[in-house]
Protein backbone atom coordinates (compact mmCIF):
# COMPACT_ATOMS: atom_id res chain seq x y z
CA UNK A 1 0.00 0.00 0.00
CA UNK A 2 2.92 2.30 0.78
CA UNK A 3 4.17 2.45 -2.79
CA UNK A 4 0.65 2.69 -4.18
CA UNK A 5 0.03 5.96 -2.40
CA UNK A 6 3.27 7.77 -2.95
CA UNK A 7 6.90 7.03 -3.78
CA UNK A 8 9.54 9.68 -3.35
CA UNK A 9 12.45 9.61 -5.78
CA UNK A 10 15.73 10.66 -4.18
CA UNK A 11 18.51 12.44 -6.00
CA UNK A 12 22.07 11.09 -5.78
CA UNK A 13 23.03 13.97 -3.52
CA UNK A 14 20.29 13.00 -1.10
CA UNK A 15 21.49 9.39 -1.02
CA UNK A 16 25.08 10.12 -0.05
CA UNK A 17 26.30 9.38 3.49
CA UNK A 18 26.31 12.31 5.87
CA UNK A 19 28.84 12.92 8.68
CA UNK A 20 27.35 11.74 11.91
CA UNK A 21 28.40 10.77 15.42
CA UNK A 22 27.37 7.53 17.02
CA UNK A 23 27.15 7.08 20.76
CA UNK A 24 27.01 3.72 22.50
CA UNK A 25 25.50 4.21 25.96
CA UNK A 26 26.48 0.74 27.08
CA UNK A 27 30.17 1.61 26.55
CA UNK A 28 32.23 2.48 29.66
CA UNK A 29 33.75 5.39 27.71
CA UNK A 30 32.10 8.72 28.70
CA UNK A 31 29.60 10.02 26.13
CA UNK A 32 31.45 13.33 25.60
CA UNK A 33 34.65 11.42 24.81
CA UNK A 34 32.76 9.29 22.28
CA UNK A 35 31.32 12.40 20.61
CA UNK A 36 34.73 14.10 20.48
CA UNK A 37 36.41 10.95 19.15
CA UNK A 38 33.76 10.50 16.47
CA UNK A 39 34.06 14.10 15.24
CA UNK A 40 37.87 14.01 15.45
CA UNK A 41 37.97 10.85 13.30
CA UNK A 42 35.78 12.49 10.65
CA UNK A 43 37.92 15.61 10.57
CA UNK A 44 41.12 13.54 10.30
CA UNK A 45 39.69 11.41 7.48
CA UNK A 46 38.69 14.54 5.55
CA UNK A 47 35.00 13.66 5.78
CA UNK A 48 34.47 17.05 7.42
CA UNK A 49 36.61 19.74 5.79
CA UNK A 50 38.14 22.67 7.64
CA UNK A 51 35.83 25.67 7.74
CA UNK A 52 32.74 23.44 7.87
CA UNK A 53 30.26 24.69 10.47
CA UNK A 54 29.27 22.06 13.02
CA UNK A 55 25.70 21.64 14.23
CA UNK A 56 24.82 23.73 17.31
CA UNK A 57 25.15 22.12 20.75
CA UNK A 58 21.35 22.06 21.20
CA UNK A 59 20.77 20.24 17.89
CA UNK A 60 23.38 17.54 18.57
CA UNK A 61 22.17 17.10 22.17
CA UNK A 62 18.56 16.79 20.98
CA UNK A 63 19.49 14.30 18.23
CA UNK A 64 21.41 12.15 20.72
CA UNK A 65 19.07 12.65 23.65
CA UNK A 66 21.92 13.75 25.92
CA UNK A 67 22.50 16.70 28.22
CA UNK A 68 23.56 20.01 26.60
CA UNK A 69 26.66 20.11 28.81
CA UNK A 70 27.81 16.74 27.44
CA UNK A 71 27.97 18.06 23.88
CA UNK A 72 29.43 21.40 24.99
CA UNK A 73 32.17 19.50 26.83
CA UNK A 74 32.96 17.47 23.70
CA UNK A 75 33.22 20.67 21.64
CA UNK A 76 35.50 22.27 24.27
CA UNK A 77 37.73 19.19 24.25
CA UNK A 78 38.02 19.44 20.45
CA UNK A 79 38.76 23.15 20.76
CA UNK A 80 41.57 22.45 23.25
CA UNK A 81 43.00 19.96 20.76
CA UNK A 82 42.81 22.57 17.98
CA UNK A 83 40.24 20.72 15.84
CA UNK A 84 37.45 23.28 16.11
CA UNK A 85 37.01 26.96 16.78
CA UNK A 86 34.16 28.05 19.02
CA UNK A 87 32.77 31.46 18.14
CA UNK A 88 30.04 32.92 20.25
CA UNK A 89 27.97 34.22 17.31
CA UNK A 90 28.69 32.00 14.31
CA UNK A 91 28.82 28.79 16.36
CA UNK A 92 31.42 26.06 15.99
CA UNK A 93 33.46 25.37 12.88
CA UNK A 94 36.24 23.01 11.95
CA UNK A 95 39.64 24.69 12.31
CA UNK A 96 42.34 24.41 9.66
CA UNK A 97 45.73 22.97 10.73
CA UNK A 98 47.84 25.66 12.47
CA UNK A 99 50.22 27.50 10.11
CA UNK A 100 53.06 27.63 12.64
CA UNK A 101 53.74 24.81 15.07
CA UNK A 102 53.66 25.46 18.80
CA UNK A 103 56.93 23.97 20.14
CA UNK A 104 55.58 23.06 23.57
CA UNK A 105 52.43 21.48 22.17
CA UNK A 106 54.44 19.48 19.66
CA UNK A 107 56.73 18.17 22.42
CA UNK A 108 53.70 17.09 24.45
CA UNK A 109 52.11 15.36 21.45
CA UNK A 110 55.42 13.67 20.62
CA UNK A 111 55.25 12.06 24.07
CA UNK A 112 51.67 10.98 23.38
CA UNK A 113 52.76 9.49 20.04
CA UNK A 114 55.57 7.58 21.75
CA UNK A 115 53.10 6.29 24.31
CA UNK A 116 50.63 5.15 21.62
CA UNK A 117 53.37 3.39 19.64
CA UNK A 118 54.60 1.69 22.83
CA UNK A 119 51.07 0.53 23.64
CA UNK A 120 50.66 -0.87 20.14
CA UNK A 121 53.95 -2.71 20.48
CA UNK A 122 52.79 -4.09 23.83
CA UNK A 123 49.58 -5.18 22.12
CA UNK A 124 51.71 -7.39 19.87
CA UNK A 125 52.16 -5.21 16.77
CA UNK A 126 55.56 -5.91 15.22
CA UNK A 127 57.88 -2.92 14.51
CA UNK A 128 57.49 -3.35 10.71
CA UNK A 129 53.72 -3.37 11.08
CA UNK A 130 53.96 -0.32 13.35
CA UNK A 131 55.89 1.53 10.64
CA UNK A 132 53.38 0.48 7.97
CA UNK A 133 50.46 1.72 10.04
CA UNK A 134 52.16 5.02 10.92
CA UNK A 135 52.98 5.62 7.23
CA UNK A 136 49.39 4.87 6.27
CA UNK A 137 48.16 7.57 8.66
CA UNK A 138 50.77 10.06 7.45
CA UNK A 139 49.74 9.30 3.86
CA UNK A 140 46.12 10.02 4.72
CA UNK A 141 47.13 13.38 6.24
CA UNK A 142 49.25 14.26 3.18
CA UNK A 143 46.33 13.55 0.88
CA UNK A 144 44.26 16.10 2.79
CA UNK A 145 46.90 18.85 2.46
Amino acid sequence: MGTLLYTYQYTEAEMRPIPSVVVDRSSPEPVYVQIARSIRARICSGEIASGTPLAPVRTVASDLGVNLNTVARAYRLLEDEGFVQIRSRSGVEVAPPAGKSDREAVERLQEDLAAVLARMRQAGVAPAELRRRAEKEIGAIERLE
Partner: protein, 368 residues
Amino acid sequence: MTPRLFLILSIVEAASIGGVFLLYPQITRHGLLFGVYVGEEAASGAEARRITRSWYRGMIAWIAASVIVGAVLGAAIPHPAVAVAPALFLVPGFFILYLRAYGQARRIAHPGAPPGVAVVTETSAPSSVFPPIALAVALACGLFAIAYSWSAYDLLPERVPTHFGISGAPDAFRPKSFFTVMLSPLLALIVGVGIGGVAWLTAHAKRSFRYPASLTSVTAQIRFRLAVTRLLCWVSLIVSLFLTVMSVSMIRVGLGREQTLSPAVWVLAPVLLLGTLGGVVYIAVRYGQGGARLEDAASGGRLTDGLADNRHWVLGMFYVNREDPSILVEHRFGLGYTLNLGNWKAVALVGGFVLALLILALAALVTM
Protein backbone atom coordinates in the same frame (compact mmCIF):
# COMPACT_ATOMS: atom_id res chain seq x y z
CA MET B 1 -32.08 17.46 12.24
CA THR B 2 -33.61 14.47 10.53
CA PRO B 3 -32.59 10.85 11.28
CA ARG B 4 -31.24 10.56 7.74
CA LEU B 5 -29.00 13.60 8.24
CA PHE B 6 -27.76 12.05 11.50
CA LEU B 7 -26.96 8.82 9.70
CA ILE B 8 -24.96 10.68 7.05
CA LEU B 9 -23.18 12.78 9.70
CA SER B 10 -22.33 9.65 11.74
CA ILE B 11 -20.92 7.85 8.70
CA VAL B 12 -18.83 10.85 7.62
CA GLU B 13 -17.57 11.56 11.14
CA ALA B 14 -16.79 7.95 12.09
CA ALA B 15 -15.30 7.20 8.67
CA SER B 16 -13.00 10.24 8.62
CA ILE B 17 -11.79 10.05 12.25
CA GLY B 18 -11.80 6.24 12.35
CA GLY B 19 -10.18 6.09 8.91
CA VAL B 20 -7.21 8.14 10.14
CA PHE B 21 -6.89 5.88 13.23
CA LEU B 22 -7.27 2.75 11.12
CA LEU B 23 -4.41 3.69 8.80
CA TYR B 24 -1.88 4.60 11.52
CA PRO B 25 0.10 1.35 10.99
CA GLN B 26 0.50 2.38 7.33
CA ILE B 27 2.25 5.65 8.17
CA THR B 28 4.36 4.45 11.13
CA ARG B 29 8.15 4.45 10.77
CA HIS B 30 9.57 1.08 9.85
CA GLY B 31 10.77 -0.83 12.90
CA LEU B 32 8.00 0.42 15.19
CA LEU B 33 4.90 -1.62 15.92
CA PHE B 34 2.05 -0.09 17.93
CA GLY B 35 4.33 2.10 20.02
CA VAL B 36 7.04 -0.53 20.49
CA TYR B 37 10.41 -0.70 18.75
CA VAL B 38 10.60 -4.31 17.57
CA GLY B 39 13.44 -3.88 15.06
CA GLU B 40 13.28 -3.67 11.29
CA GLU B 41 13.23 -7.44 10.66
CA ALA B 42 10.55 -8.24 13.24
CA ALA B 43 8.39 -5.36 11.99
CA SER B 44 8.01 -7.22 8.69
CA GLY B 45 7.66 -10.64 10.32
CA ALA B 46 4.68 -12.99 10.63
CA GLU B 47 3.89 -12.02 14.25
CA ALA B 48 3.84 -8.31 13.39
CA ARG B 49 1.51 -8.98 10.47
CA ARG B 50 -0.79 -11.01 12.72
CA ILE B 51 -0.97 -8.18 15.31
CA THR B 52 -1.63 -5.62 12.57
CA ARG B 53 -4.38 -7.73 10.96
CA SER B 54 -6.03 -8.10 14.35
CA TRP B 55 -5.90 -4.28 14.74
CA TYR B 56 -7.57 -3.75 11.36
CA ARG B 57 -10.34 -6.21 12.16
CA GLY B 58 -10.99 -4.61 15.56
CA MET B 59 -10.94 -1.04 14.23
CA ILE B 60 -13.26 -1.79 11.31
CA ALA B 61 -15.76 -3.41 13.70
CA TRP B 62 -15.51 -0.46 16.09
CA ILE B 63 -15.97 2.11 13.32
CA ALA B 64 -19.10 0.25 12.19
CA ALA B 65 -20.37 0.21 15.79
CA SER B 66 -19.73 3.98 16.04
CA VAL B 67 -21.80 4.63 12.92
CA ILE B 68 -24.68 2.56 14.34
CA VAL B 69 -24.48 4.31 17.74
CA GLY B 70 -24.50 7.72 16.02
CA ALA B 71 -27.47 6.83 13.84
CA VAL B 72 -29.54 5.25 16.65
CA LEU B 73 -28.85 8.09 19.12
CA GLY B 74 -29.53 10.64 16.40
CA ALA B 75 -32.92 9.08 15.67
CA ALA B 76 -33.82 8.83 19.39
CA ILE B 77 -32.54 12.24 20.55
CA PRO B 78 -32.77 14.84 17.77
CA HIS B 79 -30.33 17.35 19.27
CA PRO B 80 -27.24 18.81 17.51
CA ALA B 81 -25.01 17.84 20.46
CA VAL B 82 -25.62 14.15 19.67
CA ALA B 83 -23.62 14.66 16.46
CA VAL B 84 -20.41 14.17 18.47
CA ALA B 85 -21.56 10.76 19.77
CA PRO B 86 -19.76 8.67 17.09
CA ALA B 87 -16.45 10.42 17.86
CA LEU B 88 -16.92 9.98 21.64
CA PHE B 89 -17.65 6.29 21.10
CA LEU B 90 -14.74 5.87 18.68
CA VAL B 91 -11.94 7.29 20.82
CA PRO B 92 -12.12 4.85 23.81
CA GLY B 93 -12.35 1.95 21.34
CA PHE B 94 -9.22 3.20 19.62
CA PHE B 95 -7.33 3.26 22.93
CA ILE B 96 -8.57 -0.19 24.00
CA LEU B 97 -7.51 -1.72 20.67
CA TYR B 98 -4.22 0.18 20.75
CA LEU B 99 -3.37 -1.07 24.25
CA ARG B 100 -4.19 -4.64 23.21
CA ALA B 101 -1.91 -4.35 20.16
CA TYR B 102 0.76 -2.62 22.30
CA GLY B 103 0.71 -5.51 24.78
CA GLN B 104 1.13 -8.02 21.96
CA ALA B 105 3.95 -6.00 20.36
CA ARG B 106 5.80 -5.83 23.72
CA ARG B 107 6.35 -9.58 23.49
CA ILE B 108 8.55 -9.10 20.42
CA ALA B 109 10.18 -5.83 21.57
CA HIS B 110 13.79 -5.28 20.50
CA PRO B 111 16.09 -5.76 23.51
CA GLY B 112 18.85 -3.43 24.63
CA ALA B 113 19.69 0.20 24.04
CA PRO B 114 20.04 1.46 20.47
CA PRO B 115 22.98 3.69 19.52
CA GLY B 116 22.47 7.45 19.54
CA VAL B 117 23.13 9.18 16.24
CA ALA B 118 23.49 12.89 15.52
CA VAL B 119 24.27 14.70 12.31
CA VAL B 120 27.23 16.89 13.19
CA THR B 121 27.52 19.09 10.15
CA GLU B 122 24.94 21.79 9.59
CA THR B 123 22.36 20.35 7.23
CA SER B 124 20.58 22.67 4.86
CA ALA B 125 17.57 22.65 7.16
CA PRO B 126 15.34 25.47 6.06
CA SER B 127 14.82 27.67 9.09
CA SER B 128 11.10 28.18 8.83
CA VAL B 129 10.11 31.84 8.92
CA PHE B 130 6.46 30.92 9.41
CA PRO B 131 6.33 30.34 13.21
CA PRO B 132 7.48 33.88 14.14
CA ILE B 133 5.01 35.31 11.60
CA ALA B 134 2.18 33.11 12.93
CA LEU B 135 3.02 34.13 16.51
CA ALA B 136 3.14 37.83 15.58
CA VAL B 137 -0.20 37.64 13.73
CA ALA B 138 -1.82 35.69 16.62
CA LEU B 139 -0.53 38.25 19.12
CA ALA B 140 -1.68 41.20 16.99
CA CYS B 141 -5.13 39.66 16.38
CA GLY B 142 -5.60 38.76 20.04
CA LEU B 143 -4.53 42.18 21.31
CA PHE B 144 -6.69 43.94 18.72
CA ALA B 145 -9.75 41.86 19.77
CA ILE B 146 -9.07 42.63 23.46
CA ALA B 147 -8.58 46.36 22.79
CA TYR B 148 -11.72 46.58 20.63
CA SER B 149 -13.90 44.72 23.16
CA TRP B 150 -12.53 46.71 26.09
CA SER B 151 -13.03 50.04 24.35
CA ALA B 152 -16.69 49.14 23.66
CA TYR B 153 -17.37 47.81 27.17
CA ASP B 154 -19.03 50.97 28.55
CA LEU B 155 -21.15 51.42 25.43
CA LEU B 156 -22.60 47.90 25.57
CA PRO B 157 -26.15 47.43 26.95
CA GLU B 158 -26.79 45.68 30.28
CA ARG B 159 -27.54 42.37 28.52
CA VAL B 160 -25.18 41.17 25.81
CA PRO B 161 -25.52 38.35 23.25
CA THR B 162 -23.57 35.23 24.24
CA HIS B 163 -24.86 32.64 21.76
CA PHE B 164 -25.76 32.75 18.09
CA GLY B 165 -27.96 30.53 15.94
CA ILE B 166 -27.15 29.03 12.57
CA SER B 167 -28.51 32.21 10.88
CA GLY B 168 -25.94 34.30 12.76
CA ALA B 169 -28.60 36.09 14.84
CA PRO B 170 -28.22 36.06 18.65
CA ASP B 171 -30.40 33.48 20.45
CA ALA B 172 -29.14 33.87 24.05
CA PHE B 173 -28.34 36.94 26.18
CA ARG B 174 -26.61 37.35 29.57
CA PRO B 175 -26.00 40.27 31.92
CA LYS B 176 -22.91 42.25 30.95
CA SER B 177 -19.80 41.27 32.91
CA PHE B 178 -16.04 41.23 32.34
CA PHE B 179 -16.06 37.62 31.16
CA THR B 180 -19.21 37.72 29.03
CA VAL B 181 -17.55 40.50 27.04
CA MET B 182 -13.86 39.52 27.25
CA LEU B 183 -14.04 35.73 27.06
CA SER B 184 -13.98 35.58 23.27
CA PRO B 185 -11.05 38.03 22.73
CA LEU B 186 -9.02 36.40 25.54
CA LEU B 187 -9.64 33.03 23.92
CA ALA B 188 -8.47 34.46 20.57
CA LEU B 189 -5.20 35.53 22.18
CA ILE B 190 -4.52 32.36 24.19
CA VAL B 191 -5.50 29.82 21.52
CA GLY B 192 -3.86 31.68 18.62
CA VAL B 193 -0.59 32.26 20.49
CA GLY B 194 -0.74 28.70 21.92
CA ILE B 195 -0.97 27.05 18.48
CA GLY B 196 1.65 29.46 17.10
CA GLY B 197 3.93 28.48 19.99
CA VAL B 198 3.45 24.79 19.28
CA ALA B 199 4.37 25.50 15.63
CA TRP B 200 7.59 27.20 16.77
CA LEU B 201 8.44 24.26 19.06
CA THR B 202 7.70 21.81 16.24
CA ALA B 203 10.25 23.58 14.04
CA HIS B 204 12.84 22.64 16.72
CA ALA B 205 11.53 19.17 17.57
CA LYS B 206 13.81 16.18 18.07
CA ARG B 207 14.89 14.26 14.97
CA SER B 208 15.34 10.50 14.91
CA PHE B 209 17.54 9.12 12.17
CA ARG B 210 18.47 5.77 10.79
CA TYR B 211 21.98 4.47 11.06
CA PRO B 212 24.09 4.46 8.93
CA ALA B 213 22.81 8.01 8.52
CA SER B 214 22.24 9.26 5.03
CA LEU B 215 20.63 12.38 3.73
CA THR B 216 17.54 10.35 2.88
CA SER B 217 16.73 9.95 6.56
CA VAL B 218 17.75 13.50 7.41
CA THR B 219 15.87 15.00 4.47
CA ALA B 220 12.76 12.98 5.34
CA GLN B 221 12.89 14.25 8.91
CA ILE B 222 13.39 17.86 7.89
CA ARG B 223 10.64 17.80 5.28
CA PHE B 224 8.14 16.20 7.64
CA ARG B 225 8.95 18.62 10.43
CA LEU B 226 8.64 21.58 8.10
CA ALA B 227 5.31 20.33 6.74
CA VAL B 228 3.84 19.91 10.24
CA THR B 229 5.22 23.33 11.25
CA ARG B 230 3.59 24.99 8.24
CA LEU B 231 0.27 23.27 8.88
CA LEU B 232 0.30 24.43 12.51
CA CYS B 233 1.19 27.99 11.43
CA TRP B 234 -1.73 27.94 9.02
CA VAL B 235 -4.09 26.65 11.72
CA SER B 236 -2.83 29.32 14.15
CA LEU B 237 -3.41 32.01 11.52
CA ILE B 238 -6.96 30.93 10.63
CA VAL B 239 -7.94 30.28 14.28
CA SER B 240 -6.68 33.75 15.26
CA LEU B 241 -8.56 35.40 12.41
CA PHE B 242 -11.71 33.37 13.12
CA LEU B 243 -11.79 34.14 16.84
CA THR B 244 -10.91 37.82 16.28
CA VAL B 245 -13.64 38.27 13.66
CA MET B 246 -16.03 36.44 15.99
CA SER B 247 -15.14 38.69 18.96
CA VAL B 248 -15.45 41.93 17.01
CA SER B 249 -18.65 40.72 15.37
CA MET B 250 -20.20 39.79 18.73
CA ILE B 251 -19.46 43.27 20.08
CA ARG B 252 -20.93 44.93 16.98
CA VAL B 253 -24.12 42.87 17.36
CA GLY B 254 -24.18 43.77 21.06
CA LEU B 255 -23.86 47.48 20.19
CA GLY B 256 -26.73 47.13 17.72
CA ARG B 257 -24.55 48.09 14.76
CA GLU B 258 -25.15 44.69 13.10
CA GLN B 259 -28.07 42.28 13.31
CA THR B 260 -26.09 39.09 12.67
CA LEU B 261 -22.52 37.82 12.88
CA SER B 262 -20.15 38.79 10.07
CA PRO B 263 -20.37 36.50 6.99
CA ALA B 264 -16.58 36.06 7.36
CA VAL B 265 -17.29 33.75 10.34
CA TRP B 266 -19.16 31.33 8.06
CA VAL B 267 -16.33 31.45 5.55
CA LEU B 268 -13.48 30.98 8.03
CA ALA B 269 -15.11 28.08 9.94
CA PRO B 270 -15.26 25.63 7.00
CA VAL B 271 -11.87 26.87 5.73
CA LEU B 272 -10.40 25.99 9.14
CA LEU B 273 -12.12 22.60 9.36
CA LEU B 274 -11.55 21.42 5.79
CA GLY B 275 -8.07 22.94 5.53
CA THR B 276 -6.89 21.26 8.74
CA LEU B 277 -8.38 17.89 7.80
CA GLY B 278 -6.97 18.18 4.27
CA GLY B 279 -3.55 19.16 5.65
CA VAL B 280 -3.47 16.19 8.04
CA VAL B 281 -4.44 13.74 5.28
CA TYR B 282 -1.92 15.29 2.87
CA ILE B 283 0.95 15.03 5.39
CA ALA B 284 -0.02 11.44 6.28
CA VAL B 285 -0.14 10.32 2.64
CA ARG B 286 2.74 12.35 1.29
CA TYR B 287 5.24 12.17 4.17
CA GLY B 288 4.03 9.51 6.62
CA GLN B 289 4.79 9.86 10.32
CA GLY B 290 8.26 11.40 10.76
CA GLY B 291 8.79 11.22 7.00
CA ALA B 292 8.34 7.42 7.05
CA ARG B 293 6.96 7.32 3.53
CA LEU B 294 9.96 9.26 2.18
CA GLU B 295 12.45 7.10 4.08
CA ASP B 296 11.04 3.74 3.05
CA ALA B 297 11.78 4.47 -0.57
CA ALA B 298 15.54 4.38 -0.04
CA SER B 299 16.73 3.83 3.51
CA GLY B 300 17.45 0.45 5.03
CA GLY B 301 19.19 1.60 8.21
CA ARG B 302 18.08 1.03 11.76
CA LEU B 303 16.16 3.54 13.83
CA THR B 304 18.27 5.11 16.55
CA ASP B 305 17.99 6.64 19.98
CA GLY B 306 14.75 8.46 20.94
CA LEU B 307 12.24 6.51 18.89
CA ALA B 308 14.04 3.17 19.15
CA ASP B 309 14.72 3.20 22.89
CA ASN B 310 11.83 1.33 24.53
CA ARG B 311 13.08 2.30 28.01
CA HIS B 312 12.03 5.93 27.51
CA TRP B 313 8.45 5.20 26.38
CA VAL B 314 5.55 4.55 28.72
CA LEU B 315 2.76 2.55 26.99
CA GLY B 316 4.38 3.53 23.69
CA MET B 317 2.68 6.94 23.96
CA PHE B 318 4.53 8.99 26.57
CA TYR B 319 8.20 9.90 26.12
CA VAL B 320 10.05 10.49 29.39
CA ASN B 321 13.79 11.25 29.17
CA ARG B 322 15.28 13.66 31.71
CA GLU B 323 18.61 13.81 29.88
CA ASP B 324 17.08 14.80 26.55
CA PRO B 325 16.81 18.60 26.10
CA SER B 326 14.13 18.15 23.39
CA ILE B 327 10.66 19.48 24.18
CA LEU B 328 8.80 17.78 21.34
CA VAL B 329 9.50 14.31 19.94
CA GLU B 330 7.80 12.27 17.24
CA HIS B 331 4.83 10.11 18.12
CA ARG B 332 5.65 6.44 17.88
CA PHE B 333 2.10 5.65 16.80
CA GLY B 334 0.02 8.40 15.24
CA LEU B 335 0.82 11.58 13.38
CA GLY B 336 2.83 14.55 14.61
CA TYR B 337 4.71 15.20 17.82
CA THR B 338 4.34 14.58 21.53
CA LEU B 339 5.96 16.06 24.64
CA ASN B 340 9.10 14.93 26.38
CA LEU B 341 7.55 14.61 29.84
CA GLY B 342 11.03 14.31 31.34
CA ASN B 343 11.73 17.93 30.38
CA TRP B 344 10.37 20.39 32.95
CA LYS B 345 10.12 23.13 30.31
CA ALA B 346 7.75 20.97 28.25
CA VAL B 347 5.59 20.22 31.27
CA ALA B 348 5.58 23.89 32.36
CA LEU B 349 4.66 25.16 28.88
CA VAL B 350 1.74 22.81 28.41
CA GLY B 351 0.69 23.12 32.05
CA GLY B 352 0.64 26.92 31.69
CA PHE B 353 -1.43 26.76 28.51
CA VAL B 354 -3.96 24.30 29.96
CA LEU B 355 -4.12 26.29 33.22
CA ALA B 356 -4.85 29.53 31.31
CA LEU B 357 -7.70 27.83 29.43
CA LEU B 358 -9.05 26.27 32.64
CA ILE B 359 -8.99 29.59 34.50
CA LEU B 360 -10.78 31.23 31.59
CA ALA B 361 -13.41 28.48 31.45
CA LEU B 362 -13.98 28.47 35.23
CA ALA B 363 -14.15 32.26 35.46
CA ALA B 364 -16.63 32.31 32.59
CA LEU B 365 -18.79 29.69 34.32
CA VAL B 366 -18.76 31.60 37.61
CA THR B 367 -19.50 35.05 36.20
CA MET B 368 -21.83 34.14 33.32
